[in-house]
Amino acid sequence: MPKQLTRLIIVFLIFISLFLVVRHFLVPESFYKFGHYRADALKDNEDHQVKYIDAAMCSACHTDIDSLKVSGPHKNINCQTCHGPGYLHVEDPSKNVLIKPTERAFCGKCHSLNAARACNIIKQQDIAQHNIDNKCVECHNPHQPQP
């Protein structure tokens, strides 16, 4: 065999074994345990902190707001859609205070003019025109917004 070939074969063998060594260290530990994925990923997902809680929980303490809300047009909107994830708040209400989104832009997320949405499903309002001097919540109670 020509010398060139023997040398190249050696180089390739070195390269391939290097690859295998590197691979040995870089493949995550639990990969291939159950299949073509990292088995620990299941555990990682399991360990995620719970953020949201069943909406019925809110009503247990905030009965007044709940009874107001169920009669209004926002009845189908989860409290946490507006106030953010509430799991920690339920555990300790005084320590984990939820946000109260009062800016006009917030209501605009759902109510601003949007040509891509059917206008008879969520009432649209031109945010740049409709009573611009006040916050929405000054006229509309967010829990019972019917004007």
């Binding site: 020509p2 060139q4 040398r7 180089v11 870089l26 073509h36 832009a105 949007n114």
Partner: protein, 397 residues
């Protein structure tokens, strides 16, 4: 907050009805560069192989340039993909735990095979004797580097050169199908997306392959003229004319294949045809003007004319130079029309979005220009490190 401002602004980009997730293009200009650069590699390599396997003597002055250009561009070929990733630092994972059903993982291996088993080997066999000679002539660090590159094969006898040539020839023979595989595979990645009528076509790999050859040949033509100019040497007219002729033939083939694809679509007139014919009018600038007119018709007309009548050398030189640039730009727009064009229309077939390329950012214009320039810097280094014009000519009888 201003969330709805953003929404309003986004909606101005939309035409007709689209699904919400189609507003932003997921595959940006970087994904256009990926097949473009890979194509340049495959094309330049195929040109080098023609010289070697079919012994086209006239192409000799471009042999090393093609090889080194292919190598320089291959070094960068995956960079647009990697910088497009959300987590670029994890790019290697696809190679560590590859999955046979992953088209991208397999591309990694096709790429590695081509880099390690074809291109580097061919360059090595071509330069081995020179490494030996240079390692004797040079001093210091350079001497050491050349010495390492010889892999300890210090023989410079004509017999050893003959062995180099023989083995190099075998590598080239393996290399041609490999280069076809490399770029055909890139076409396959697009052609196999059955949900997208603009991409899904069995002709895609073949079209990509031929356009790769076209762009690779144009690149070598361009580089050869520039390098010769910088070195203040005389251009070899026979070489230029041969490349021109080759470019002419392959360009015809490429254009025929692409037309075939379109004619097939037009005749088939499937459910997606309405949107596709609208798309073509949306791509007026990049498709009709840049790809077809500037990138194909004008070069074809000039090259075709040269096949019957050869004007003065000076005119031919200028024409070849302009053609090489036109073709390079044209093929870039061909990739653009495939990648970007294929994402402009909605899967509902009822509307369009638009693509606006940003200037800065990971997927912006500047980043793309960087990835176009880097191969030229690498090539400059390679030409200094492995100068083709300083190669020894050991008679091999």
């Amino acid at each position: 907050m201003g969330n709805f401002d953003q929404l309003y602004q986004a909606l101005t980009k939309v035409d007709g009805f689209i699904y919400p997730n189609e507003l932003e293009l997921r595959w940006s200009v970087l994904i256009t560069l990926y097949p473009y650069i890979t194509g340049l590699v495959a094309g330049a390599f195929i040109l080098a192989s023609l010289n070697r396997v079919f012994n086209v003597k006239a192409l000799k002055p471009t042999y090393e340039i093609s090889l080194l250009a292919a190598f320089a561009f291959l070094c960068v070929a995956t960079m647009p993909l990697i910088s497009h990733l959300g987590q670029p630092q994890r790019f290697y994972e696809i190679m560590m735990t590859p999955h046979l059903t992953s088209a991208m993982a397999i591309f990694g291996f096709v790429y590695l095979w081509y880099l390690m088993a074809v291109l580097l080997l061919e360059i090595w066999f071509d330069y081995r004797v020179d490494f030996v000679i240079w390692s004797r002539e040079k001093k210091g660090l350079l001497k050491l580097v050349y010495k390492i590159l010889t892999l300890g094969v210090m023989d410079t006898s004509p017999k050893s050169v003959r062995t180099d040539n023989k083995l190099g020839y075998i590598i080239t023979v393996i290399g041609i199908p490999s280069a076809f595989l490399l770029h055909g595979y890139v076409g396959f990645i697009f052609g196999s997306v059955k949900a997208n009528p603009w991409w899904s076509s069995v002709l895609m790999p073949i079209i990509f392959l031929f356009s790769a050859m076209v762009s690779g040949i144009a690149l070598v033509l361009f580089l050869y003229m520039i390098i010769t100019y910088i070195r203040k040497q005389k251009l070899d007219m026979l070489c230029l004319d041969t490349i021109g002729k080759l470019l002419f033939y392959i360009l015809i083939l490429d254009f025929t294949l692409e037309s075939l694809d379109q004619i097939h679509r037009i005749y088939e007139a499937g459910e997606s045809f309405d949107i596709i014919s609208l798309l073509m009018s949306k791509l007026f600038f990049s498709l009709t003007i840049m790809q077809v007119l500037m990138g194909t018709f004008i070069p074809l007309a000039i090259l075709g004319f040269f096949q019957f009548h050869k004007p003065k050398e000076k005119i031919r030189k200028a024409a070849y130079f302009i053609i090489s640039i036109l073709v390079l730009v044209g093929i870039f727009f061909m990739r653009w029309n495939v990648v970007i064009g294929g994402q402009l229309f909605s899967k509902s077939f009822l509307g369009f979005t638009t693509y606006k390329i940003g200037l800065i950012g990971r997927e912006g214009l500047i980043m793309s220009i960087v990835w176009i320039i880097v191969p030229f810097i690498i090539l400059t280094f390679l030409l200094w490190f492995l100068p083709p014009w300083k190669k020894a000519h050991i008679e091999d009888k």
